[in-house]
Symmetry: C3
Subunit: 267 residues, 3 copies
């Protein structure tokens, strides 16, 4: 079985096992990511009350923490859920939305990263690079950052936190201690739809919720997102129809479409 | 006038009177349910601040309480709005999202059910069955629950709280003291779109806001939702297009489509 | 260069400069307005924590304050962001959603209007008329209000607060001390999609974020919204497809479409 076939197997496992993904995420994308998770056959649940996040996460297959529209109560809930997930060996993925944009965002990220362990961290190049300094003090966002520039930052973060790092961009990078995979699917129109990065993170949540190898799961989720976006963009007139077609394609993508569209490089 | 015709009359009354539906609902579906209410000709308003919910509900035709993403402040607002609605004889529908999933959710449901009266409770079979025990202690969600199994639970809840109970599923059940109606419209693809249950609840909010008989209003709203979903699914490629086509169909459904698509059984 | 050409120039400047628009807005429309801003080439950011709004607004080109689903913490954040924006001469647009509906909403509006200066206020006729009295006491919403009736209210508000006033309706009015522009684009189906007014406000945020003349920017944003809605409605079957087609058209509208569709009257 080649790499493309084995990644498709992981996609099928998501549909067959329907992992429950507990999302503590931002207001902007809740509907979008819940729909994306349903489209691939996973089960989303959104819950953020401090009084219930520990109970919710313990019935979940994975936890997604996304700081897009954070506030103090939510941050407390994120920490509680993170610690409980760590205790129970439930994998957690972090989306550091807007890392570097404000001191508060950086402070919260530093607190989260010291409060528990993340199996995966996914962001764009600017966010991943900003994370390197959040343990200390922010130096702001480098909006011209490319995935290539962020590769060194990703290796540093992997070494420091033990997380698989996923950098989204024209080329996506998935990086662990001794592995590097590049995926060059997707379409530029995706940058005109809100929550595409957050959706990639949610899909990672579903794939790591299967209990399969974390690195492979991140690769498969990233491939799925890129291919769905690329195929959807090919039949879309703009960002509105792309958003709709992406959900359709996450749902009805065939093995053949996945295998022949995937552009992957493993190092 | 037969049953189908009389239900369509209720649908026309929603469009003619445009009831103002006050929603205290979850973040995931706010956009979806506001759009569904507008599509059928009702007027949605979303407001959750303790400082204004009593003033908002008193200008509304009905109140929707949905606990999908609850937190303490919102629960307080729900209770205030519920009590004010009861005082003014404004009908209230409860959507017990995730009943049984966490102790906090069950506790909140028990508090709400003792704080006031709900004209209608709508949930899936698992949620309706979980509600039976929330007055005492949770026994968790039975995810394999079917509408048939929940029928006994619904009768118990109707007797205890006086509410019309609506169980959503492949077959929808609407139950009161001496009536039982089954509707078998809809499509399995609807389960791959987030907020379909919440949308059904919102539509019930609009229909009971007309001032017509509550049981008949719940039947009409449930029929409308199932038929719109079924007709939308027939022209959809996946969950993304279903979401769009459902809103279109809620808006442009003809009397003829309603009458000939409805599959209803009255006992 | 005629008026239509000069307005299109402003639209091009939005795409060329991609202003960062900081939104403190309501839960219902966050996804919709973020997508609309991306579709026209602007960069949205949503952030509401008191701990970060001052830092966020200082890297933004403009600030949007929308009270659709307000609560005390959010109101505090709005005031902090407003004051910081005023200090830094960053333009601010206010959307007084539901002005007149509840005493709390009116009180918050009075507080915001005395806490700082808004470059623009945009609402429907009822909201604009309600704002006249919020400095004192509410007299409720006049739901039958037309843009024509609100013209006097707009002139009063412009004189009192110095803001450009935009009244949305079948005919949109843009009013300053000595200017009045009427735009009669759009389509009645837009009233069946939630957040169309909020989207108009967000687009105004993008256009005033270019640093060009505020009045002209409001006219251009209002024209863009009306034309996109009108062209989208012409190819839509209902409110679901209109929502999608509007985003597509905001993205792919050509200069020719803009010039020949615009119906504008300057006094």
């Amino acid at each position: 079985m080649n790499i493309n076939e084995s990644l498709w197997k992981l996609r099928e496992k998501v549909r067959d096992t329907s992992p429950l993904v507990h999302n503590i995420t931002n207001y902007v994308v809740m509907n979008t990511t819940a729909n994306a998770l349903l489209a691939i056959g996973a089960s989303p649940v959104m819950a953020h009350a401090e009084a219930e996040v520990q109970d919710m996460v313990q019935i979940a297959s994975s936890l997604v923490i996304n700081i897009g529209t954070l506030s103090p109560d939510w941050v407390n809930a994120m920490k509680l859920a993170l610690k409980k997930a760590n205790q129970l060996n439930i994998p957690v993925v972090l989306d550091p939305v807007g890392a570097g944009a404000t001191p508060y965002r950086n402070q919260v990220l530093a607190e989260l990263l010291s409060a528990g362990k993340f199996s995966v961290i996914r962001g764009n190049a600017s966010e991943i690079m900003a994370l390197v300094t959040t343990g200390n003090k922010t130096k702001g966002v480098d909006s011209t950052a490319s995935s290539e520039n962020a590769e060194t930052a990703a290796k540093f973060l992997n070494k420091k936190y033990g997380s698989v790092i996923c950098i989204s961009g024209a080329i996506d990078y998935i990086i662990s201690k001794d592995k590097l995979v590049k995926i060059s699917n997707g379409h530029s129109l995706m940058s005109k739809v809100t929550g595409m990065g957050c959706t990639a993170t949610a899909l990672i949540g579903a794939f790591i919720g299967t209990g399969e190898d974390v690195f492979d799961s991140v690769v498969a989720a990233t491939a799925m997102m890129g291919i769905a976006g690329e195929l959807a963009a090919a039949v879309s007139k703009g960002p509105g129809s792309l958003q709709m077609n992406l959900l359709d394609k996450l749902h009805n993508m065939t093995k053949d479409e996945f295998i022949r569209t995937l552009r992957i490089e493993c190092q």
